[in-house]
Amino acid sequence: MMNIKRVISTIEKNYILSNLKKGERIDGRGLWDYRDWTVKCDVITSAEGSSEVTLGDTKVITGLKYEVGPPFPDLPNEGVCTFMAELLPLASPLFERGPPDEQSIELARVVDRGIRHADCVQTKKLCIKENEMVYILFVDIYVINYSGNLIDAGGISALSALISSQIPEGKWVDGNVEWTGNYLTGETIVNELPMVVTYGKIGDMIFLDPSLPEELVCDGMLSISVTENKLASIQKSGTATFSMEEIEMLVKKSMELAKKIIKELNLWQYKR
C-alpha cells in the first residue's frame, strides 16, 4: 500500500512520528485503537450479496455475483471464490485511472489470502455436481472514499457481502443445472469469520489502523489475518523491517483485536 503518488514533506512525517513517540496520534486515537466501524448489507439490488462498510472516512462497497461452470480439475468437488478490488479515482486524488495497479491487486490479494486460509468460504458447498458444475463467486470490492487502511475495511466488507448473500440453488438434472427456487445463504457458505488487522510502522513506532496521513508517511505496514485461535496469513508491505519480537507481539494482539471487533460488528445478523 505504499505506492502513493504524493510527496509528503519530511516535516509532516517527523510531526506524526514525534507524536507517536508520545503515544499520541493526529486524530486523537491511542496507538492500538480502531476508528469507528459501520456496516450495511444488501445495498445493491443487482448483486447476490453486498455490503457498504465505513472505517472512519474510508468507505468501500462490495458486491457478490455468481456464475456456474466446470470446477478446476484438481478440485473436482469445490466451487471457487475470487476477490477483485478497484481503487476508484472518485475515491481520492491519489488514485489514477487505468488498469488495476499494484495497490488494487495487493488489496484483493491480501483480503483473498486472509479469507482463503481460514476455513471461511465452504467451497465444497459451492459444488452442484462433482467434476461437472460448481459455483464461481466474484467478490468485488470498490473503494468509494479513501482515508487509509483499505485492507481491514475491504476484509470486513468482503466477509459481510458473503454472509448476506443469497444464491439461487441449482441441482444437476440430466446433465443440466435446474434451479430449485431455493437459495444458498451466508449460513451455508460461510464458516469461520476471519479478520485482517493492519498495523503501520514509522521509524520504530508501530500502531493500529493507519489513517491516510499515517499511511502516506509510514515505512511499511503489516497485515495479519486471524480466526478465533489460528493465524491464517501475514503480509508485510513497504520497506519497514520488523524484529522477531515485534512480529510475535503483533500476532497476539491481532487475535485479541479480531475477537473484539467481530463480536461488536456481529456480522451474522446480516444473513438472510
Binding site: 444488501d42 445495498v43 445493491i44 439490488t45 443487482s46 448483486a47 447476490e48 453486498s50 472516512d57 462497497i61 458486491g63 457478490l64 455475483k65 456464475e67 477483485m84 478497484e86 476508484l88 479515482p89 472518485l90 475515491a91 481520492s92 486524488p93 489514477e96 485511472r97 488498469p99 488495476p100 466474484f138 468485488d140 470498490y142 468509494i144 472514499n145 479513501y146 482515508s147 443469497q166 439461487p168 434451479w179 437459495y183
Partner: protein
C-alpha cells in the same frame, strides 16, 4: 430485492390494469433521490438513487492536466469517466471499461460542456468520475443528471444545470423514464438532456422505430419530465445549504 435466475423478457410490458410492470403510469417517473457533498475527498460530489439505479459522481478540478499534452492553452478541458461496477448488472460485467462505458463517457461530456465556462480555466482540467454501483435502465440520463449536481456542488460556475431523462415506446405506446426491462424489450428508446440556460437539447439519441408524429409527441412529454427532474436537483442543492446553515446555528447554540 428480487432475485431472478433468468434474465427473460416478458411478452407484455403493460399489466392488465394498464400500469407498467413496476406499477407506474405511462408518464410517471420512478422514485428519485439526490444528495450532494457525499464524498470527503472530492472537490464536489453527488449521489443519486433513481429507481434501482445507484450512482456516485465526484468532481476534481480545476487541476493540472495529466497527461500534459491534453491541456489546451486557451481553455480548460472537461473529462468524464463513466464506469459501471461489475455487480451493478444482471450478468457480471467484466472489470475493464468496455466500449459502452467509453461511449457514455463521451456522451455525458458533450452534455455538460455547454453549461461550463471552460474558457475561464486555460490549461487546466475538470474531471468528473461517475460510478454506477447498481443499474436499472437510463444510466446515461441518470449519470448526466447527477454529474451536473456534482459540478454545482464543487462551486464551479455554470450557465445552468442539466437534466436528462429517457423517453421510449413499449407495446406501441409512448412512455416516460424507461426502466431496464422496458429499455431492453421495448420498441424505441430516446434519451435526451436539456441545458436549462437555453432550453435546448445537449443529448439526443434515438434507437428504434417511430413515425414523425410519435417523435414530436415524445419531445413534448420529455420536456414535462425534465421539468420535474430539474426541481429535484434544485431541492438537493438547497438542502445542502439548509443543512450547513443549521449546522452553523447548531454550532452557535452548542457554543
Amino acid at each position: 430485492m428480487p432475485l431472478i435466475i433468468k434474465d427473460e423478457y416478458p411478452e407484455k410490458l403493460f399489466r392488465e390494469d394498464g400500469k407498467r410492470l413496476d406499477g407506474r403510469d405511462k408518464h410517471e417517473l420512478r422514485p428519485i433521490k439526490m444528495e450532494v457533498g457525499v464524498l470527503e475527498n472530492a472537490d464536489g460530489s453527488a449521489y443519486l438513487e433513481w429507481g434501482n439505479n445507484k450512482i456516485y459522481a465526484a468532481v476534481y478540478g480545476p487541476r493540472e492536466v495529466h497527461p500534459h499534452h491534453l491541456a489546451k492553452p486557451d481553455k480548460g478541458i472537461l473529462r468524464v469517466f463513466y464506469r459501471m461496477a461489475t455487480f451493478s448488472v444482471f450478468e457480471r460485467k467484466r472489470p475493464a471499461p468496455g466500449r459502452r462505458e467509453k461511449e457514455i463517457s463521451m456522451v455525458v461530456t458533450d452534455c455538460l460542456d455547454p453549461v461550463l465556462f471552460l474558457e475561464l480555466y486555460p490549461g487546466t482540467s475538470f474531471e468528473v468520475f461517475i460510478n454506477v454501483m447498481d443499474a436499472d435502465g437510463g444510466t446515461r440520463c441518470a449519470s448526466t443528471t447527477v454529474a451536473a449536481l456534482a459540478l454545482a456542488d464543487a462551486g464551479i460556475p455554470m450557465r445552468s444545470l442539466v437534466s436528462a431523462v429517457a423517453m421510449g415506446k413499449i407495446d406501441g405506446e409512448l412512455i416516460t423514464d424507461l426502466s431496464g426491462i422496458e429499455d431492453k424489450a421495448g420498441e424505441a428508446d430516446l434519451p435526451c438532456a436539456i441545458t436549462w440556460f437555453n432550453e435546448e437539447l445537449s443529448l439526443l439519441q434515438f434507437d428504434g422505430t417511430m413515425d414523425i408524429k410519435e417523435f414530436s409527441e415524445c419531445l413534448v412529454l420529455a420536456k414535462e419530465a425534465l421539468n420535474k427532474i430539474h426541481e429535484i436537483q434544485l431541492e438537493a442543492l438547497k438542502k445542502k445549504y439548509i443543512d450547513i446553515q443549521e449546522q452553523y446555528k447548531g454550532g452557535e447554540k452548542g457554543a
